[in-house]
Symmetry: D2
Subunit: 263 residues, 4 copies
Amino acid sequence: MAKSRYEYVKQFELDDSALPGTWMVVRIDGRGFHGFTDMHKFEKPNDLRAIHLMNRAALEVVRNIRDIIIAYGQSDEYSFVLPASSTLYSRRISKITSTIVSLFASNYTMHWAEYFPDTKLLVPPCFDARLVCYPTQKTLRDYLSWRQADCHINNLYNTSFWAIVHSGKTEQEAEERLRGTFSKDKNEILFSDFNINYNTLEAVYRKGSVIIRQETEVKSVSQKSGEEVVRLRRLPAVLHDDIISNEFWKEHPELLVSSQEYE
Amino acid sequence: MAKSRYEYVKQFELDDSALPGTWMVVRIDGRGFHGFTDMHKFEKPNDLRAIHLMNRAALEVVRNIRDIIIAYGQSDEYSFVLPASSTLYSRRISKITSTIVSLFASNYTMHWAEYFPDTKLLVPPCFDARLVCYPTQKTLRDYLSWRQADCHINNLYNTSFWAIVHSGKTEQEAEERLRGTFSKDKNEILFSDFNINYNTLEAVYRKGSVIIRQETEVKSVSQKSGEEVVRLRRLPAVLHDDIISNEFWKEHPELLVSSQEYE
Amino acid sequence: MAKSRYEYVKQFELDDSALPGTWMVVRIDGRGFHGFTDMHKFEKPNDLRAIHLMNRAALEVVRNIRDIIIAYGQSDEYSFVLPASSTLYSRRISKITSTIVSLFASNYTMHWAEYFPDTKLLVPPCFDARLVCYPTQKTLRDYLSWRQADCHINNLYNTSFWAIVHSGKTEQEAEERLRGTFSKDKNEILFSDFNINYNTLEAVYRKGSVIIRQETEVKSVSQKSGEEVVRLRRLPAVLHDDIISNEFWKEHPELLVSSQEYE
Amino acid sequence: MAKSRYEYVKQFELDDSALPGTWMVVRIDGRGFHGFTDMHKFEKPNDLRAIHLMNRAALEVVRNIRDIIIAYGQSDEYSFVLPASSTLYSRRISKITSTIVSLFASNYTMHWAEYFPDTKLLVPPCFDARLVCYPTQKTLRDYLSWRQADCHINNLYNTSFWAIVHSGKTEQEAEERLRGTFSKDKNEILFSDFNINYNTLEAVYRKGSVIIRQETEVKSVSQKSGEEVVRLRRLPAVLHDDIISNEFWKEHPELLVSSQEYE
């Protein structure tokens, strides 16, 4: 194809490769989601439709980008993990980050009506994203633990806060009631005042959502013989497991094996 | 809010600020759009519905991000320009890039049905994005000229190619016919064989689309007096002007004034 | 040459190119020079031997690295400017920075005895360095003005401080005397108490040192005819001019012409 | 201290921190050392004086920068390793790299006369430097193995090459003789033609030089009692060990322990 004399401006595009041999985490975050949730009347403290929509968008991203080996989401954020050995897009930070965040945003928009059949999408959702490199399995696991600990801290607060509000107090009163309290205090308030045992709440709220690829039976009908055929395929699935403890990682040893060549 | 012992992983997020005093251009590009256009049966060489949808998504981005002073789009790409003086998100590259690309993707998805009322959106669109810094007015203008020259080169080729194909040839035959030809040859083919004067084709195809903020009369009815009120506001509008020549920049001196403090 | 199986580690070397079309400034700074000047009994407020040694080291750097078009030094720092059009070492930041700083350090060490014939060099001098990009002529000039204004501010302070100390006061008393004073106050102290008209002090102290390449007559004797030949060559020379005002730049228009292709 | 209106240019200094939790390796390399060794008539294939001078300069760098835990040198290059846990200069790449390379250059210059008492230093030595991050113990060890394997490959070649040249052949003839040969061929040439058993050559040539801090008995005389006092201190020392094999690392477990918090 012909080239113009302006072609030289291409050289201003600098290389932005991520350090090889490190885990790459792309975390997307809702922008202005406080207003977004108000506008669309999300239920508080948690709106299960919204959680399922976030998980659906993330699931489509994981289906699309094969290198992602685990994703973790809570509230209006989702983290996608690419292994240390990944060479996706030559590890170019902008390319990886923008592809993931735009796929997430378009899926969120496209599938909105399935999860919110009675609520019209009034404004397009917006997410920002960043890519962070973690050099070792330990630092990667600590990253994921950080997000799940954050989920716990926020959800315990929000559950307490909205229990107080739903009981007839103002938001300001709820805030004052919780100021300076520790986890055990909030557990106590929930139990004594609202008869809620926090630890028995559904895991989806307390633990957030984890997506990994799991061996799954896929049934299809043979076009030739008409018989049903069952095959095993690794398909992404949403779990609500504790990913801080060692157990999860022992059950899924394949998650960390990918970076063994570097450690 | 309480903090966990995993908090230390936050320090792995490195600063990625763009050099101050430089123009920032975020260019988004359709990913896998060859398949996307086939799947949704886009008209060739240009599908006006698709162009209008691209422009609508870009317009919404420009409405949302006030710092953008000019945007230019053609084919499945769009460039958004932030002035040298912009301090949007402290000039953090990931934050700016991801916000723009996710807004674009969700707007494209959300407004699809308005522009393709008879075509169901089958897969979510995906765009990648990168941010490039240009140090001076001249290099910025050369960047925009590069993209518009590219539009011209591609559109002349595509117009010729599809004219040949629509006349009954195979795509391979069209390709062979055009191999090694220069602009004047393609103009000649279009004129002699298909009676098309390329230069009289609509500017939207030949020049692509430019978005700038223009003084616009906005009418509203005063709630108090019931009278119609006309105010002037600067609102983004889509043009199909030549942005390579000096004329455009002389007509819109405010576009380059913003970086005067540095030049 | 044979390759080992460890060769793969080379891929961890990431590209660190400076943005094209920007002025590159490498500023070196003495590390631990407070102790260094005490140890070698530098005269206060200024030691002319030390200034000449700094200038000599810088001159050798400029002789060696042809792309440097201007350098500016004061106190224990020196800035070397590469034009926006420079492609030295493909504009790799580490390569440029390390080459300049190591040349400076070895020249400073090697020429020490010429400038300090009676003082043994007790410890090797150490300098750190950084490369900063400036996108336009204006920002580059403002950078150089910043350093020369800094020279003025520090030198006026130091001249006043050491005048007070040399008159018999303690360093603490001198510090207290100067606390909160403005330029005009220090000028007044110098004039009233010590009969020093600051503005008539030698420019080398007040303005620092500038190195540019100047047309110079170079004489040599022809080996053939035995006659003396005079040729004009552009050789680096040390000046003590004011580089903040426009005059200097009008006298040396070639300094800024190099980046014209970008502005 | 007063500030000038040019102060704003400081914001163009961007952050260049190395990724936390990664090993930082600064490798310095002689610039134009081919000419430098010719000019100063270095002995070929190896000049022991030059090796000792390189080691001395490196030793002084290690003494000065406490965070360096191991250094490895061969030919005209030296690598300095900072542990994953190091926070030296907030891990700023330019600061670390320039400090090490300038210290190396000034030490090399300052100590020249001790190692080359009969050879005047004609030009100042120059070194470039780069900092590379390695995410894990394994990649760090592979880096060091890469450099030591390189030392072996080059030294075997050079030893063969100069043996042939010293036997009366031209450099071109030596080059041709060695073209396409493997290690075993060169070993064979050395043994058959020159009666040299390569593997019994001194380790300093075959293995290069390693600097680590070792427990050392330091004797001093008590000023009080006049008695000799012996204390154990960890002081840097030069070894010529094999650092590719596991043995070395088992003998010095403290070298890798520093990054345990991340792995």
